[in-house]
């Protein structure tokens, strides 16, 4: 049986109210149009991570996002998310943001190409309507401009 996270997160967050989980008002579905070996792939991360030389995320309620170069040699990754689970991922952000592994899959031909950049934002935001109407469409626009076929969200 899978580990039950929500009761522990509620206990860890007390006395704050438990988090609200919101399903999208209009569930998304895009058919796969190309085989993976011909697809351009991007990562999405809710860890509020960035290159060390990019603008830091604000500690709370930051609705901005960062375009993070997909080249693993582009620079060190910093995780700004305030979650209490950050001790281990900060030792090695690749375990929540597998930039190097994705580049290796591109080199092996498992995926067609890397997106020029991946996208990172702050997970745990409470402004669900704004996420649906503004933030998600803005990120989708970035992916479309980069001609991304597959976007893999790694929740944090």
């Amino acid at each position: 049986m899978a580990f039950e996270y929500l009761p522990i997160m509620a206990e860890a967050g007390a006395p704050k109210p438990p988090r609200v989980l919101a399903a999208p008002s209009n569930p998304a579905w895009c058919p796969i149009k190309k085989p993976l070996g011909r697809s351009r792939v991007a990562l999405l991360s809710s860890a509020a991570l960035r290159l060390a030389n990019q603008k830091p995320f604000a500690p709370r309620d930051d609705t901005t996002y960062r375009l993070v170069p997909s080249d693993p040699a582009a620079g060190e990754i910093v995780i700004d998310h305030h979650s209490g689970i950050g001790r281990v991922p900060r030792q090695d952000p690749e375990i929540v943001f597998p930039r190097t592994a994705l580049a290796a899959l591109a080199k092996r031909g498992v995926i067609g190409a890397l997106s020029p950049h991946h996208v990172s934002f702050m997970g745990g935001l409470k402004c669900h309507a704004e996420i649906e109407s503004e933030i998600a469409p803005a990120i989708a626009g970035e992916l479309k401009r980069a001609e991304v076929d597959v976007a893999l969200l790694v929740p944090y």
Partner: protein, 76 residues
């Protein structure tokens, strides 16, 4: 995951914050990522969640759960 209804969901039974394996294990990072991407053509409807059958500890041991519970309650 079912409560937030992603269009396609891949379940990785690892401790939270270690989705692609322990720190500095590039081979495992790549294995988990490749498994997730390989599932793509198998999804048939929005909201489906597919189990990648990843084990954190060999033999399927759940010994990591107590450690993680302590970590989540005390490292905040």
């Amino acid at each position: 995951m079912s409560r937030v209804a992603p269009p396609r969901g891949a379940f990785v039974d690892h401790p939270v914050g270690r989705t692609f394996g322990p720190p500095h294990d590039r081979a495992r990072n790549e294995t988990v990522l490749e498994k997730a991407l390989a599932e793509l053509p198998r999804f048939t409807r929005s909201g489906e969640i597919r189990d990648l059958h990843c084990e954190w500890l060999a033999g399927g041991s759940r010994a990591w759960e107590d450690e993680l519970r302590t970590e989540m309650l005390h490292e905040r």
